[in-house]
Subunit: 414 residues, 2 copies
């Protein structure tokens, strides 16, 4: 007879013991397992072109043009439909990407090493604001910026990280949670820390002062600079807790704009999928809920690892961006203690007397209590390339947890 | 008949309307009104060598050696006692300095301009941790670091600030208060913001990449980097509220290690002084209350301007440094609403539903309610040069408010 509680303690214990160090930046094809030239990684569970959302399609097209594999939307779509290009989830390659999360072979990715358990995780570089590939934009200026990021900034970051001897992302996150971040939708403090920590090393390794100045401005003016390393760190933590026999802990939660999928520690690599929700939040001027794409992105790896919406009590100022009151933010965290297994041993919330963040969603509790995980998220426009139209809150469909629990009962004979 | 409430509204309104822009860095002798070669500015109200505390004496000696005016403790003391060197409060020269606050003619100082009312304020550069002049250390390595700061970093900051077109310190503070700072004892977020904002400009103006790297590391690794510009900004705000006929608002509060002094908007430049308290807080390993100097420094200009201990509710993580619980931090702010006149229009506290910080201490309320202002502070060792031994909380003596109120009644004939 499996002791589920014991298995869950092991899984969550491993997630919290994981110590993700940001090691370097390198082209995806050189470091991501199974990466190849005709493969595109994307956010969320598996998806086909036919069922893909607007921003996801735009990002696929953009990546194929960026790689020189397609000339335009039509030829890109044809390639994907013909199977000349394969689409696979980032999550199936130890990787994660925000929003569409589309990552191609030549793109630079962050390389995070969990030095406790030895596993690695990866994430692409953050593009900042405005028209960006992750929201499905692929105009020439989007691709030009991507090229600069991959050809200039990426190698500079690699040298700087090397000079710095790596960067402890868990320690950075712990500090940022004491500075009003929740690590998903608010990464302001973390991005400033990241910029300040790398700046002296960048200064030492980048020869061209104009490029150095541009890199420092690009990192320092983007409050999401550190989101991608943070996501890779959370992925390394989630993967460390995956594969524990008999555990009902959720180790993956991700959305592709059409479906949300979860994976469970004791249930192998099987996805449990259901339709994504529509985020509820604040829209930028000129946009409304009618413009919103379905929920999209791998950034829910933060909630999976015990931060993001789960750590909202640490980030009361976030409500100016996602709606609600500071009390709502506090309540979000308090609610998540109901469906989690542990209080994080490294991530603490000053306003709750330094209580650890709620960590390790137990799918049994989700189903039993009828409480699904909370998610903080950016909101994408439903059409490719328009970009972010707001930010808010959303939850996964209960059905995915019910299905996973049924599968668990079948597999373990309850 | 003077309308005190109206006068106070004017004074506090001016403090809050002040918009301090960090303009440049320049040698004290070139920018501080009345600065001259045989003058040393110091923290707090006026003090003589005979009555000066250990750290204050050490800093005076260090500054005279730094300037080449004295060779050692004995010759420095002789000069001061003979009147060959004059000691005057920073505050009487539109300036402020943390801890001993000793500023000599050749030292570089931050220049802040209040663009709303046109007044300027000044503060020296922050030296970081360890053995530093502001705690009364004056060994060769202390003076060597000072020389590097004044000869290399200062001019670099001046060029970078020029390239940046100045830096809005009020906006920076408003942002930092949403990131867990209170602006006095916790300036972690503000210092990261400051470093990240200046980094691209420093990269563009500093030719020597090794020096650039050193400057970026010096700023980024010092969680007090921004304290001195913040203090100068608060001084500019406090001075903007000074000199309003009939106002009982406190516009200066400062300590020299022996005496604490306040000044009041409607009472001109007269100091009301009393003995400093002994801070109550957490001591670094190996030190205890017996090692502590009396309360010292001009950094209480932050509380005077409505931040610091008054904004503790914004900075729950600070209790790990100064003692107490997050609830104590919340209560500190709530108590300060009792003795202040306004809620700050620019500095808000997310955890209190974005309520403005308590701003503008009314000495009438202090005396009437028996509640003195709260102060967050670093604790200096009582002997020159040992350095910081802890951090904690302290209050000014009630007598200074009583004396000021008596003087107010005499002057205005109540």
């Amino acid at each position: 007879m499996i002791d589920i509680d014991q298995a869950n303690e092991t899984a969550v214990g491993r997630m919290m013991a994981a110590r993700p160090i940001l090691r370097t930046v390198a082209p995806a094809r050189e470091v991501i397992p199974g990466m190849r030239d005709n493969l595109l990684l994307h956010a969320g569970p598996p998806i086909t072109w036919e069922r893909a959302s607007g921003p996801m399609r735009g990002a696929i097209v953009g990546a194929l043009i960026y790689e020189g594999l397609a000339a335009d939307w039509e030829s890109a779509a044809r390639m994907v439909l013909a199977g000349d290009v394969t689409l696979e989830p980032c999550h199936e390659h130890s990787a994660v990407g925000p929003m569409a999360g589309v990552t191609s072979a030549s793109m630079q990715v962050y390389v995070v090493e969990n030095v406790t358990h030895g596993n690695h995780a990866f994430s692409n570089l953050n593009e900042g604001y405005g028209k960006v590939l992750r929201y499905g934009a692929y105009s020439p200026e989007v691709l030009e910026k991507l090229r600069w990021m991959n050809e200039v900034m990426g190698p500079a970051l690699a040298s700087a990280l090397d000079a710095a001897g790596g960067l402890d992302v868990r320690a950075l996150l712990a500090e940022a949670l004491h500075m009003g971040d929740e690590g998903h939708n608010r990464n302001k403090a973390g991005s400033f820390i990241y910029t300040a920590r790398l700046a002296p090393h960048l200064a030492a390794v980048v020869d061209d002062r104009q490029e150095l100045s541009r890199i420092l401005a690009f990192l320092g003016e983007n409050a999401l600079s550190v989101l991608n390393p943070v996501m890779a760190a959370c992925k390394a933590m989630g993967d460390a807790g995956h594969g524990v026999e008999g555990s009902t802990i959720m180790t993956t939660m991700a959305r592709n704009g059409t479906d949300l999928g979860i994976r469970v520690s004791g249930l192998g690599d099987r996805w449990f999928m259901g339709p994504v929700g529509q985020p509820d939040g604040l829209y930028f001027s000129g946009f409304s809920a009618e413009d919103a794409s379905g929920d999209i992105g791998d950034s829910t790896i933060t909630e999976t690892a015990g931060i993001g919406a789960f750590a909202m009590a640490a980030a009361p100022a976030i409500v100016t961006f996602i709606s609600g009151t500071p009390q709502d933010a506090l309540n979000a965290t308090l609610e998540m203690y109901e469906i989690t297994t542990a209080e994080h041993s490294h991530f603490t919330i000053p306003a709750l007397d330094f209580r650890g963040t709620p960590t390790g969603v137990d799918i049994r509790k989700v189903v039993e209590l009828g409480i699904t995980p909370r998610i903080n998220t950016g909101i994408a426009h439903k059409e490719a390339g328009v970009g972010q139209v707001g930010a808010g809150l959303v939850r996964p469909p209960m059905s995915v947890f019910e299905e996973a629990l049924v599968a668990f009962a079948e597999q373990y004979g309850f």
